[in-house]
Symmetry: C2
Subunit: 130 residues, 2 copies
DNA sequence: CAGAATCCAATTCGATACTG
DNA sequence: CAGTATCGAATTGGATTCTG
């Protein structure tokens, strides 16, 4: 549960203290969740629908991490049944720009990347599994 | 060993086919290795020195992935002892721009992020470990 | 020198069941 | 509705040993 494991020192290489956010960017679901919140606040189950494939557990965890990093707010309404809204903070919105540029770069260059992967894969003879 | 495991469909959410590169950006060592190669080609053991803390195994794996994605070239010299040079491809250099911008964004906003983390951590009472 | 192979520990994630 | 708790499987990474 949000294990406060201390960051090993070697993570300080090159990327400096930015490891934690890079981990967020690189992890399995954060970008999808942030993307889903672009258009405005969503409730837990709305998010779960939009981010196809995510489990309840991972949605909860991802939201907690994003909240901890100050990228997402969590607003509870003490109604019955309970209702919780998630929304991007100004910081979360600002993060969108560099992240989108990176994603766009990848999309623009995906043809070249995939070509490289194919040519790599064919000379690295796939080991027969027999 | 470079398990050619097929990417599960759910990874196609929001980030589209760019998952593989995002994984590369987010993984533990790729950015450090790319950063080390910025100034020019390096040999295996030179890289190992510059990227403090990386194990032989992870350096090998990371380089293979980067090579497969077309971001790094591997040049072998059939000398004794053998010598292998790694260098960024033009594609690898181009990736540097959006990645650096992201890293810079994080650095510029690290104060705000860390403040958010601290305030989150103190209201989420740390469970005593006794 | 530049790795490949093996083994093991830690982390991550999904499925399922339960709750205020 | 919006979670929490628990478990097991898969993935990831480190340490060590061996090799052309």
């Amino acid at each position: 549960m949000l294990s406060h494991s201390q960051t090993p020192e070697y993570r300080q290489t090159v990327t400096g203290g930015s490891r934690e956010i890079l981990d967020r960017v690189g992890d399995k679901w954060s970008l999808s969740v942030i993307g889903a919140l672009r258009a405005g606040p969503l409730r837990f189950n709305e998010l779960k629908k939009q981010v196809t494939g995510i489990s309840q557990r991972m949605l909860t965890l991802t939201l907690r991490y994003l909240e901890r990093d100050g990228l997402v707010t969590r607003t509870m309404f003490a109604t019955i049944p309970p209702r919780v809204d998630y929304a991007l903070t100004p910081l979360g919105f600002k993060l969108l720009k560099p992240v989108c540029e990176l994603v766009e770069w990848v999309q623009e260059n995906s043809a070249e990347i995939e070509a490289a992967q194919r040519s790599f894969d064919e000379q690295t003879v796939p080991v027969p599994l027999t």
